[in-house]
């Protein structure tokens, strides 16, 4: 009878779960193909190992990149529109204070960060998720600046020109990959968050 008292709480709405996994796939394709494109003319004195890239050669990588771009952007528009209109962003990602971020990041580093209630994001999570959204916006804008420096030259100009846009695009990718790596490590450390992002529900002892 005790077991029956276990409560299931709804943590992630369906829209968030679907867009999360579509985004994960789109980002994986964009990053892996983007690395191959980077290798065709490296901005910095290093190359990405070809084994980690997608596309086989430049033309293949470009095909992947400009196919997945539509998935990324359409999915991103659905997610951001839902987040703003439904109040999901306001409820889950705000408020966020420097003091709370500092406190929670310290706790996380000491391995003491509380995850009892998966329906409430701590300040470190809020920062990470907001930063991912911001990275996505910067990546799309700098990507458009590189792809269409004539037709969309206003965007390219805001970013400081074509060559600057390449640097911004790369740095935003690097930050995004870093956050995603931390995110995946956190999921490994708190594995029950993974089924929650699929079913949308989390068990909460009453």
């Amino acid at each position: 009878m005790e077991a029956a008292r276990t409560q299931w709480v709804k943590v992630h709405p369906l829209v968030v779960r679907i867009t999360h996994w579509v985004n994960a796939f789109a980002i994986l394709v964009m990053v892996a193909s983007g690395w191959r494109i980077y290798n065709a003319s490296p901005l910095f004195p290093f190359r990405i190992p070809n084994e980690l890239t997608l596309g086989g050669w430049l033309a293949g990588a470009l095909q992947w990149h400009f196919a997945a771009m539509w998935l990324l952007v359409i999915n991103g528009i659905v997610y951001v529109t839902y987040g703003v209109v439904s109040g999901h962003f306001r409820r889950k990602l705000l408020p966020i204070t420097p003091r709370a971020i500092f406190h929670d990041v310290l706790e996380a580093l000491r391995g003491k960060l509380a995850h009892e209630d998966l329906s409430v994001y701590n300040a470190a999570q809020r920062t990470a998720y907001l930063a991912i959204i911001l990275c996505g916006v910067v990546l799309v804008l700098s990507g458009l600046a590189i792809w269409k420096p004539v037709q969309l030259q206003e965007i390219t100009a805001i970013i400081g020109g074509y060559e600057s846009a390449r640097v911004v695009h790369f740095l935003a990718m690097a930050l995004l990959v870093l956050i995603v790596l931390v995110h995946v490590v956190m999921v490994i450390l708190v594995p029950r968050t993974l089924p929650t992002m699929i079913t949308g529900r989390a068990r909460r002892a009453s």
């Binding site: 994960a24 796939f25 994986l28 892996a32 193909s33 191959r36 494109i37 980077y38 065709a40 003319s41 901005l43 070809n50 084994e51 890239t53 997608l54 596309g55 086989g56 050669w57 430049l58 033309a59 293949g60 990588a61 470009l62 095909q63 992947w64 400009f66 196919a67 539509w70 590189i146 269409k148 420096p149 004539v150 037709q151 030259q153 074509y162 060559e163 390449r166």
Partner: protein, 252 residues
């Protein structure tokens, strides 16, 4: 596009095909996001249905770019001080293999949907009204360089020879066996120039003597050099890189 990138890519392709059946079995056994991430891109790209999807998306991107193309939007122009020196040489072969075209006997051949197909000699072409531009050349590889080209506005030349402006494509055949094609809207763009000079001097062989079609609204490989003939057509002519998988429209 550089020679080495093409060599490595072609070598990579032929070898990988043999192993594709094994790979497909592996795919069927357990396709997780993790496995997908670990697979090298080439194997996935070699899969027939995946390749079909990617090619379809590339055609869709041709349409999307055609729709996005604004015939009145001008590529940014730069001052002389912004010119990249030296301007990089780039082709599917190395600089010591550059074709030398004999200017004295040269004739530009015209074919297809053109009213007056009389071939053009260089002195005839040089006598047409000339204009200059300093624009950014952007390579599909990502790098860019700013240069100065001079020549005749291509839309003026097309009007002079009576090219059918309602046709879809203009194709080019070059002395180095390169070939490419562009959409009519881009061909008629005011900054699309049939150029005979680079940095105020006759186009040297490495930059495409006797002429290069300079299109600042397209990526570098859509700017054919050493043009020997051109034709106006409604049948998709493709191109050297385009036929290998590079996006055909490749607009900037």
């Amino acid at each position: 596009m550089k020679k080495r990138s093409m060599e490595t890519s072609l070598a990579g392709h032929s070898g990988k095909l043999i192993r594709s059946i094994e790979r497909r079995l592996f795919l069927r056994q357990g396709l997780s996001l993790g496995a997908l991430a670990l697979l090298s891109g080439c194997d996935l790209t070699d899969d027939e249905s995946v390749q079909k999807l990617l090619t379809g998306m590339s055609r869709w991107n041709d349409s999307a770019q055609g729709w996005l193309f604004n015939p009145n939007k001008l590529a940014p122009e730069f001052p002389e001080s912004a010119i990249t020196k030296p301007f990089p040489f780039n082709a599917f072969y190395s600089v010591d293999e550059v074709q030398t075209v004999d200017g004295a006997s040269y004739q530009l051949e015209l074919a297809g949907l053109i009213r007056d197909k009389k071939p053009w000699t260089l002195p005839e072409l040089y006598s047409l009204p000339q204009t200059s531009q300093i624009t950014r050349h952007i390579c599909v590889e990502g790098w860019s360089a700013i240069g100065k080209w001079s020549g005749v506005r291509f839309s003026d030349f097309l009007a002079r020879i009576g090219a059918d402006a309602s046709a879809k494509y203009i194709g080019f055949k070059c002395a180095d066996d390169y070939y490419s094609s562009v959409d009519m809207a881009t061909a008629l763009h005011p900054q699309t120039l049939l150029t005979f000079r680079y940095a105020d001097e006759t186009l040297p062989p490495k930059y495409g003597f006797p002429m290069k079609l300079r299109i600042p609204t397209k990526l570098g490989f859509k700017n054919p050099k050493h043009i020997m003939s051109m034709f106006v057509t409604n049948e998709y002519p493709g191109g050297y890189w385009e036929d290998q998988g590079y996006n055909w429209f490749s607009g900037s």
